[in-house]
């Protein structure tokens, strides 16, 4: 058991626990905090893989902006504990089996194809420099980059329109 493997299992367990907690908590604020735990664990995993920039962005944007937004909305709407309604029989009985099926299908596919060069390579801890990333982002992927900036503009406009008071 190498060090990286050990760290991996710790962080993975943390992530899974956080996800399970998200499901089991009754109050949405607790679910939000669980999600933050998951995101931090994932950021750790990114660091383990050498994606330092992505890890930083994960914490700053996801954890610092998006989750804060969630918390603000929960506070704004005064969300309470969940109601225990259960109108959909389909969701109740078919939910878990289907989720297991999906995850199982993907897992099986992953395991099946693990005889290729991909798995033997393994995720190295080699650092991906920010320089490499920016070269890719602004040279090879400049069009998607511009489009995403456009997307953000649209989102801002949308949020403003939605938040307007009824005149």
């Amino acid at each position: 058991m190498t060090a990286s493997l050990f760290i991996f299992f710790v962080l993975a367990a943390l992530a899974v626990l956080g996800a399970v907690s998200l499901i089991l908590q009754r109050h949405p604020i607790h679910s939000a905090l669980s999600l933050i735990v998951v995101m931090v664990a994932l950021a750790g995993l990114y660091l383990l893989m050498g994606a330092e920039f992505v890890a930083a962005v994960q914490i700053i944007v996801y954890g610092g902006a998006i989750m804060v937004l969630f918390v603000f909305v929960i506070m704004l709407l005064n969300a309470g504990e969940e109601e225990r309604t259960n109108f959909s029989k389909l969701a109740t009985y078919a939910g878990i089996p289907l989720a297991v099926a999906t995850a199982g299908l993907i897992a099986a596919a992953i395991v099946r194809s693990s005889s290729g060069t991909l798995s033997t390579a393994g995720a190295s801890g080699a650092l991906t420099s920010t320089r490499t990333l920016s070269m890719l982002l602004f040279k090879d992927f400049v069009y998607p980059f511009e489009l995403t900036s456009f997307l953000i503009l649209v989102a801002i406009l949308g949020a403003i329109v939605l938040a307007q008071r009824e005149n």
Binding site: T2, S4, F8, A12, A15, V16, A19, L22, I23, P28, S31, V38, L45, M49, A51, V54, V57, Q58, V61, Y62, I66, L69, F70, V73, I74, L77, A79, E82, R84, N86, A91, G95, I96, L98, A99, T102, A103, I106, A107, I110, V111, S114, L118, S119, T120, G122, A123, T128, L133, L136, D140, T148, L151, I152, A155, I156, G158, A159, L162, A163
Partner: protein
């Protein structure tokens, strides 16, 4: 070093948990958070591939996913606020105006 397969399996597990949360939770905001969880699982898979291939393309894609998730969260939560104000409830099962 950690085999790529482990990261991918973790991604699959997180994705499955996200689906479970999506199907079983009744609070709109919690459902939204489950979507974020699923997106994160996918991000993990991308970074794992990027690291295994040694190229940075996967990480660039992750950046885009994060940006899109942010935009989506902003607009989505705006809609949730409006809907919640309208229906006076955060229970997704109460929003059933399309019922036949």
């Amino acid at each position: 070093m950690v085999p790529t397969t482990y990261y991918l399996l973790l991604s699959a597990i997180l994705f499955g948990l996200g689906i479970v949360a999506f199907v079983f939770k009744r609070n709109i905001i919690t459902i939204f958070m489950a979507i974020e969880l699923m997106l994160n699982a996918v991000n993990l898979a991308f970074v794992a591939f990027s690291s295994a291939f040694g190229k940075g393309d996967g990480e660039v894609f992750v950046l885009f996913v994060i940006v899109v998730a942010a935009a989506e969260a902003a607009v989505g939560l705006g809609i949730i606020i409006l809907t919640a104000r309208n229906r006076r409830s955060l229970n997704v099962e109460r929003v059933d105006l399309l019922k036949l």
